[in-house]
């Protein structure tokens, strides 16, 4: 169940709710490529799911800040991707991916796991009922860690994984282009139910990241991480 404080969010069910579209991507990578591959995919999704900061003015109008972007080169993969220029967001993702990578490496893992990025909306309920978190988009990346024997195989892996990631980026863009459900633009009082407004330079949709590791027995060990946004832990 959701580890978040009950005041802010009721547990979201394991299965995606109705009308929540789910996309699954699979990659096979070498151990040292896990972080970069995950960051590439997560950042690409969040690039499309982040806007500039909203500034509400009188009469219900608002203006939108500017989102900058930057190129990131991978060290262990022949690959480069674009991410939103926000150090806070990058730190949050790196933290999540780092934990995922450590868990994958941990004992009991045979190198298989998945990391999920879920976008949700908060629906306020009246006291004593707690707010609901309603997911509207779920991205799952299944990872299979391979071990390679020699440098030549590693070199081939660099290129192959790079090509695979190119395909994943194209897949992500295809999904984004469908222009399917997006939460309605909120009024000022509702903005925190739709967007994460805690970052100072960009405004992604509310999201949470969780991961699962498949242990060697094939059973799934769920580790749900806290949301990395201070927002939910704030009073």
């Amino acid at each position: 169940s959701c580890p978040l404080s009950t005041r802010c969010c009721a547990p979201s069910s394991a299965a995606p709710a109705m009308n929540c579209r789910a996309e699954v991507l699979e990659v096979s990578v070498e151990g040292r490529q896990v972080e970069e591959a995950m960051l590439a995919v997560l950042h690409t999704v969040l690039l499309h799911r982040s806007t500039g900061k909203f500034h509400y003015k009188k009469e219900g109008t608002y203006s939108i800040g500017t989102v900058g972007t930057q190129d990131v080169d991978c060290d262990f993969i022949d690959f480069a991707y674009v991410r939103v220029s926000s150090e806070e967001l990058d730190r949050a993702l790196r933290k999540a991916v780092g934990e995922f990578k450590d868990a994958l490496r941990g004992s009991g893992s045979d190198g298989m796991g998945q990391i999920s990025l879920e976008f949700y909306q908060k629906k306020k309920s009246r006291w004593p009922f707690s707010d609901e978190c309603i997911p509207w988009e779920l991205w799952t990346i299944k990872v299979n860690v391979v071990n390679l024997a020699n440098e030549q195989e590693r070199q081939i892996c660099r290129e192959k994984v790079g090509e695979k990631l190119c395909e994943k980026i194209i897949n992500i863009v295809e999904v984004m282009n469908r222009h399917e459900y997006l939460p309605k633009m909120p009024t000022q009082s509702e903005v925190d139910n739709v967007f994460d407004t805690s970052l100072k330079d960009v405004q992604p949709y509310l999201y949470k990241i969780s991961y699962q590791i498949t242990d060697s027995l094939g059973t799934s060990v769920t580790t749900t991480m806290r949301r990395l946004i201070k927002d939910t832990l704030a009073l």
Binding site: T44, L47, H48, T51, G52, K53, H55, K57, E59, G60, T61, Y62, S63, I64, G65, T66, V67, G68, T69, Q70, D71, D73, D78, A80, Y81, V82, V84, S85, S86, E151, Q152, Q155, E159, L165, C166, I169, I170, I172, V173, E174, M176, N177, H179, K184, M185, P186, T187, Q188, K200, D201, V202
Partner: protein
Amino acid sequence: AMDTDLSSQDRKDLDKFIKFFALKTVQVIVQARLGEKICTRSSSSPTGSDWFNLAIKDIPEVTHEAKKALAGQLPAVGRSMCVEISLKTSEGDSMELEIWCLEMNEKCDKEIKVSYTVYNRLSLLLKSLLAITRVTPAYRLSRKQGHEYVILYRIYFGEVQLSGLGEGFQTVRVGTVGTPVGTITLSCAYRINLAFMSTRQFERTPPIMGIIIDHFVDRPYPSSSPMHPCNYRAGEDNGAVYPSVEDSQEVCTTSFSTSPPSQCVFTVTKAHFQTPPPVVTDTLKVPVMGLAFSHQLSSSRLSYQPAALGVGSADMGYPALFAGGLNAAHPHQLIGPGKEGGVPPVPSQPAHGTQADQERMCTPLDGVHYSAATPSSSEDTETVSNSSEGKCGSPHDLLETIFIRKVGAFVNKPINQVTMANLDIPFAMFAPKNVELEDNDPMVNPPESPETESPLQGSLHSEGSSGSSTGNTHDDFVMIDFKPAFSKDDILPMDLGTFYREFQNPPQLSSLSIDIGAQSMAEDLDSLPEKLAVHEKNVKEFDAFVETLQ
């Protein structure tokens, strides 16, 4: 499209959105092929100059070229805006790599809200473009451009020409946005067959030993839209020849309304400006003065250097040379003085931006005028008739560069024709090859130093070295045929040639060479205690030896 369904304000807005979307699309594509990492900053408070809420810098030359190609028109059915990316080697051969197409089809979405949904979807599409431009093969090629090749771009408007991409080219769709006047689609067709073009479009004279020749030939078809290097060099004197304040700074402060949801209030905040605009037919068209781009490009250098034409071969890396044929009389080069079309060169000061703005504003950028497609007065008049055709001759006719490098005394082929395996690019096949295959020439591809335990053992035969992952260490050292003057040695069973090859490099450390007969790591570890015992036994001798060194 029926204008009756679309309010005139909406129509104006839509046309403006499409126009600036086209300009930003070109910027994203060209900047992605500069060969450098792009970095722009996010800004929480809207600066009023960022279209689609994205920080995309406007390179003035690129905007200028795009506007010239569009000539006041907008993408429409049958009239697509295309950005062609091609590669040009230092030998003068070129090859089309990609065509990015911004097209419009007839499928209309009447219900969609222009100033809100269309705008946001165009923003999303630009983000997708940012992502996709990094995953096509040309991206990696462009990151490695410089000495052996450069990446060029060309913008044209009209019919899409994909024939230059070779067989079996692939397409990737970036995305679509429906509007009340049609559906905008953005896609890329890219070459996958990177084997070099078999038909050379122009003669190459063979290199002449010992002579430096830099010969630029005028473009045979000056009316066709030229290619431009996607590359810049920082210059001391950054006198930009184009006004740096483009009208893309107009209009960007947009407000969105959430109440009630069906209404979209599109308001513009007027920014402070020093001189009143001469004609403001459109409330959205406010020249924004004194607004500086707050974006910092931390990792890219987008400044321009005046061309030093006729530079010698030492400056191989400069794209101006490879772009060839672009001398001072042809102003479309990114570097260099002079400017066609009658617009005088202006220093990069905002005041002149107004001037340029004023020049453009003589042609009201009203949506109605786009259908007429005849700009009455603008700086674009000169090339309208040509660029509106779209295709003006094959791009390969454009540039004829006879460019011969300085060659060393011992070499009968250009220096740059080193082993293809050395070129760290994914498609090494594309590089030009001379008639005689140099791969088989052991002097051009010297063999790797053989991995043997002792210099006296091991193979005396040269091993092929092309394509090995450890690379070729003899790249910049080219020898002609090595016929040693001395006969075989008495002591060692080898001649001077093999001796030289054998001992060119220090031998591999024996601990690093993997031999079937060699001990495994575990055995090594096992034998350590023994070795230590031996050393301990002789410790007195060692100490005495050390004493003698004091």
